[in-house]
Amino acid sequence: MTSDSIGAERKVRVLVAKPGLDGHDRGAKVVARALRDAGMEVIYTGLHQTPEQIAEAAVQEDVDVVGLSVLSGAHTTLVPRVIKLVKEKGKEDVIFLVGGIIPPEDVAALKEQGVAEVFGPGSNTEKIAEFIKQKLGELAN
């Protein structure tokens, strides 16, 4: 799709969302800014998002990546629900990332359910951007 475009290169679009009830989004904002600085278009939807809202936003915004920031420990229910809803809506090829405090024993389970990678607190934000670019490169081939 890119080869014959006029002027513009295809931009990576990322939805950064925070499902659940806990009330702070500092980490999510740091990641959003880092991804912008890496040249991506970041749709930031703020706090207290339901899985339905996140899935619908992922569809309408046609994002390549959905980054979910979870702190509340609700990752075991909320994250799989978002993934399921996005798929049900017929949107494919989305890379799901999770950020936040996830017990190591749950990381494997999340990956099994379709999460590409989990980034703990204090993760190097440049690494996240690199990971996304690398993953999208794999998908394109």
């Binding site: 799709m1 890119t2 014959d4 475009s5 006029i6 002027g7 513009a8 290169e9 295809r10 931009k11 679009r13 959003a32 800014r33 991804l35 912008r36 600085d37 890496a38 040249g39 991506m40 278009e41 970041v42 749709i43 930031y44 939807t45 703020g46 998002q49 339901t50 339905e52 809202q53 619908e56 936003a57 569809v59 309408q60 915004e61 046609d62 809506k89 017929g90 949107k91």
Partner: protein, 326 residues
């Protein structure tokens, strides 16, 4: 793009399928040539939507107001499309698109489709693809399309090209009145909103505006509404105002004029961009501009002369024709 994939997108847009509509918008944003094929295919099914533009300084409450208006249109059973534009960072080429936050209450309503877009270097408060995205939403069956511009407070008059109705949103205490007047934004307003009416200076701002706005050529004067968008207060006035403006335009024949003006403005923009891109691409491929390096630094060739050289080389008919008319 394979023609089968293109058919699927065209068909999906016309059926209002959100996944396909969303993808078609991305194509229009990323790939102007395929995008134009899609738009041409769906264009016969456009023309039903009332396009309403929202402009005004950042923080005035445009997104919040749009969010509140979505609810009112939904209550009347109207399908709503929203395009919200935020600036691309000139340093990284990336963007943070945050308007959706204020519209989330309708994020899961199947009658609402919200799309955030970055300017991608385009000036004037919208992105290059905005016009085409409006056409796609229109073709997908949206009755009303709400377009929020960047809101730099600068000359964001581009919205005029696309909207039947332009709403200018201001807020007291931002000190933007002078800026707004300088930027010529007041002249394009069909409706003025002083949002944040919970602020003590709101009345002062509204009065100042009433005094500043002038009667238009057609004898109309844009109404001024006060709102507290966060609480939904006064928003029904704006809602009525928008609908009335649409009705009046249609009754007075102004609707067709706006449609034709928009058509011409879009054609003009597209010609400028298409022809410039193509000539520059061709010139770059041949190294034509780089070949001017020595002459440019020696001040033998001015930038204007260089532009004419490029046009003469890649689109000579244009120069011949205008020469004939001289």
């Amino acid at each position: 793009m394979a023609s089968g994939a293109l058919e699927v997108l065209v068909d999906g847009v016309l059926k209002g399928d959100p996944v396909r509509l969303a993808r078609a918008i991305s194509v229009v944003e990323n790939d102007a040539r395929t995008g134009s094929t899609i738009v041409q295919r769906v264009y016969p099914r456009t023309g039903k939507a009332h396009v309403v533009g929202f402009t005004g300084p950042p923080g005035a409450g445009k997104s919040t107001l749009v969010g509140a208006l979505i609810g009112m249109f939904r209550a009347k059973g109207k399908a709503v499309g929203v395009v919200a534009v935020d600036p691309t960072s000139p340093f990284s080429g990336g963007a943070i698109l945050g308007d959706r936050i204020r519209m989330q209450s309708y994020g899961t309503d199947p009658g609402v489709f919200i799309r955030s877009m970055a300017t991608r270097g385009h000036l004037g408060g919208l992105s290059r693809a905005t016009g085409d995205v409006i056409h796609l939403l229109d073709a997908s069956g949206k009755d009303v399309i709400l377009v929020e511009t960047v809101g730099s407070g600068q000359s964001e008059v581009d919205i005029m090209k696309y909207a039947h109705t332009v709403v200018v949103v201001l807020a007291p205490g931002l000190g933007d009145e002078v800026q707004v007047i300088k930027a010529g934004i007041l002249e394009i307003a069909d409706i003025l909103v002083v949002n944040k009416a919970d602020h003590e200076d709101a009345d002062k701002t509204a009065t100042a505006l009433e005094m500043l706005i002038e009667t238009k050529k057609d004898g109309s004067k844009p109404p001024v509404y006060k709102t507290i968008a966060t609480k939904g207060l006064g928003v029904s006035g704006v809602f009525e105002g928008i609908q009335e403006h649409g009705r009046n335009l249609k009754a007075a024949g102004g609707w067709q004029k706006r449609v034709w003006d928009s058509f011409l403005a879009e054609v003009r923009t597209n010609i400028i961009e298409e022809s410039a891109e193509r000539m520059l691409e061709a010139a770059a491929k041949e190294g034509f501009l780089n070949g001017l390096y020595d002459d440019a630094l020696a001040r033998k060739v001015s930038p204007r002369e260089a532009s004419l050289m490029v046009i003469r080389r890649y689109a000579p008919e244009i120069l011949d024709r205008s020469a004939m008319n001289d």
